[in-house]
């Protein structure tokens, strides 16, 4: 009887212990990931073996060079992950003693943010703004990024040019790299992609239609196509209206007007120029394919893109990744990708195209900041640019677009044909609870198309949210 009791007590104690051990274990490896550990041996034999092997290898190679571990986290976009592995290998080869721990993932936020919450930050992060999880924006709003001003002044590793001289002029002057609007660069501009309207060039040939260059011609084409049962317009999800509205705002009122929209100037959304844009989208909504709203969600947006391939709708706003995304989809006979800038809002003005680019940044809490800056500077070397361009990821480096071939050449030539490049995005502010500028500006388009809200209601709502953000900007 007594024995049994002691046994039970022991069991209970063992359970408590194992539970506590389970809790404790979690951060043990995380706290010191790079150390070549022969430390607590037995349970993690395999791991420590691997690590010590790595360690000895490095030691033999580098002799007295200081060993460093650089943690790089990169978003795996449409360009794939291979290029990142190649670039990291090239970086390690040119920087003896540096080991790069690379994390590449399509859902990068989900992979790195749990670690970040407990203070385990990557040293360099490649993750664009405007993503649903808004990790980049959150860190910006929290002032948790490192200024990159001195990176721009650095010499590109292995070359004798300064970083700022290699970047195409204009790319580091906008809110998309200087989020606080104070001239300090926090995001390094990486792969860029013009956004515009995609269409089936084959359809235009077949029907003997002219590609419209003004909105007047656009509406005329819409009426003509409607008789044949083809809608003028569709959109994948309302998320794509950010690029569309940015471009049309800039086209309606010029770059300064665009900047005042992005910095929430008082009354700017109710100004004459903004009204033109709201009304333009309101009219476009009437020409939008009937089932678009039902499929404008993350599950079904490809059905909307398919409308272009099936000749059921003519134009669709998107970025240059669209042909790649739809490459296996069935399509109408004689289909051929066409791509154009958005026609000018004002009569006689130039067409416009929003230039979307991904960003790279360094968290202020990064441990290895000097090497992180070196890594960012290395991104602009010819060696790195060539590797990226091999996967059609084009950086804003002078001369890189010459590497392009095929369809991509057409897409990137959009600015050569007279269209104005629009860059930027909403200025960073302190978080505003319960208000979201992009949701109000773009998400409402669904309600305009379905007729649940009027353009005037939409415009008033945008101005109201903008007021809240202006208050949060100081």
């Amino acid at each position: 009887m007594k024995k049994k009791k002691i046994f039970a007590a022991l069991l209970a104690a063992a359970m408590t212990m194992s539970m506590l051990a389970g809790c404790g274990n979690q951060d043990a490896p995380a706290s010191n990931p790079g150390s070549s550990g022969n430390d607590d041996g037995s349970t993690q034999e395999q791991q420590s073996e691997q690590q010590s092997e790595q360690g000895s290898q490095q030691e033999s190679e580098q002799g007295d060079v200081q060993e460093q571990v650089l943690k790089v986290a990169a978003f795996e976009g449409g360009y794939g992950s291979d290029m990142w592995h190649e670039v990291v290998a090239a970086f390690e080869a040119s920087h003896p003693g540096v080991t790069v721990e690379l994390t590449v993932d399509k859902k990068l936020e989900d992979v790195i943010s749990p670690g970040m919450k407990v203070g385990d930050y990557p040293d360099v992060v490649h993750l664009a703004t405007g993503r649903e999880a808004a990790l980049t924006e959150t860190l910006t709003k929290e002032n948790a990024l490192l200024p990159l001003t001195d990176v721009l002044e650095m010499t590109v590793p292995g070359e004798n040019v300064k970083v700022k001289d290699k970047i195409v002029p204009g790319f580091t002057d906008t809110l998309a790299t200087n989020p606080y609007g104070d001239g300090v660069t926090y995001y390094a501009p990486m792969f860029y992609s013009p956004c515009g309207l995609f269409y089936n060039a084959g359809l235009f040939k077949e029907k003997n239609w002219e590609v419209p260059t003004t909105w007047e011609e656009m509406w005329a084409l819409g009426d003509k196509a409607a008789e044949e049962g083809i809608a003028l317009f569709t959109y994948p999800t309302t998320g794509y209206f950010d690029a569309f509205t940015y471009a049309t705002l800039s086209s309606a009122g010029g770059p300064e007007f665009f900047d005042s929209c992005m910095t929430y100037e008082d009354g700017v959304w109710e100004s004459e120029n903004a009204t033109k844009v709201f009304e333009l989208i309101g009219k476009l909504a009437q020409y939008t394919e009937g089932t678009t709203v039902a499929n404008a969600n993350n599950d079904n947006f490809t059905k909307n893109q398919q409308l272009i391939l099936d000749n059921k709708a003519i134009f669709c706003p998107n970025g240059t990744w669209l042909p790649g995304e739809m490459k296996d989809a069935p399509r109408a006979d004689g289909f051929e990708w066409g791509f154009m800038a958005i026609p000018a809002v004002n009569e006689g003005g130039a067409g416009c195209s929003f230039c979307w680019f991904e960003q790279m940044w360094i968290p202020a809490a990064a441990e290895n900041q000097d090497m992180a800056k070196e890594f960012v500077a290395y991104m602009y070397s010819d060696e790195a640019a060539r590797i990226f361009a091999g996967s059609s990821a084009i950086q804003p480096i002078v001369g890189v677009s010459d590497y392009l071939e095929g369809d991509n050449k057409l897409f990137y030539s959009i600015y050569d044909n007279g269209a104005t490049a629009v860059m930027g995005g909403f200025a960073a502010t302190a978080p505003v609870e319960g208000a979201n500028m992009l949701d109000t500006l773009c998400g409402t388009v669904n309600s305009i198309v379905s007729g649940d809200k009027t353009v005037a209601e939409w415009q008033a709502a945008v101005e109201e949210v903008s007021d809240k953000f202006r208050a949060a900007m100081e």
Binding site: K5, A8, A9, A12, A13, M15, T16, M19, C23, S113, M116, K117, E132, A133, A134, E137, T138, L139, K141, E142, N143, A144, T238, G290, T291, T292, V293, A294, N295, A296, N297, N298, D299, N300, K303, P431, V432, E433, G434, A435, N436, D439, G443, T444, V445, N446, S447, S450, D452, K453
Partner: protein
Amino acid sequence: MKRGRARKVFIGVCVAPAVILFIIFMLIPTFNVFKMSLYKWGGYSNTKEFVGLNNFKILMEDKNFFRSFQNTVLLIVCVTVVTMALALIFAAILSREKIVGQNFYRIIFYIPNILSVVVISAIFSAIYDPNNGLLNSIIGIFRGSDKTPILWLGDQKLVIYSLVIAMIWQAIGYYMVMYMASMAGVPESLYESASLEGAGRIQQFFSITLPLIWTNVRTTLTFFVISSINLSFLFVKALTSGGPDGATEVFLSYMYKQAYTNSSYGYGMAIGVVVFIFSFGLSALVNFVTKREPLEF
């Protein structure tokens, strides 16, 4: 005396693991949610600013929050009423009547419950497809296929009911099996004497079956409240992402949006507190209202 003390120590040691686990994984996180709701915090940096009840003040003026509140309540009510009614009917038929292929039906009804919500969402995306979806094709037979298609996921007045249908489809099997289990415990002799007295099947159901499985029904009501709140998040996330234009935003999807994509973690936690209190209160209320003297058999 000494023995009594040893006994207490022994009980303490035995209970300790569960208590410690409960404190670490339930009490402390819950307490943290309540605490964080008083701060303005983005979720990452160390700049937490204590704002008192300000988050709740903003919440009371947030139209989007009230919309998600309405949607959640609508979902809870519709899903609970319809699912419970259908599950009870099916359970009564399958356990009282002699039908060929009873087990087959039981499995068929239960299958949706095994599927992941993402799979169910994909199935319903296909069913609701405006052009070649199952639902519009069937309706098209009656109203003519040349009419404009019904946008099950695009019409803002309709889309929430599209969610209701998917959630009911998913939940019926689970509750049916639960009701069947307790119906199996009702003694056959009661039904026998009832039919001798001349009671029809429907009367038997209301006078014998329902009262005798009442405790079970009460328990499932609490399940309904909790699972409607939880599952609606998954369905919304996979099927509509809260759209079109916020028409299907529910409690948890709105909370998630605020906490993780709008950089206002503290505000998200304030929503969490409201959800916590609401679901607790509603469960308690349901429990109180449905309280009956338990019947013995």
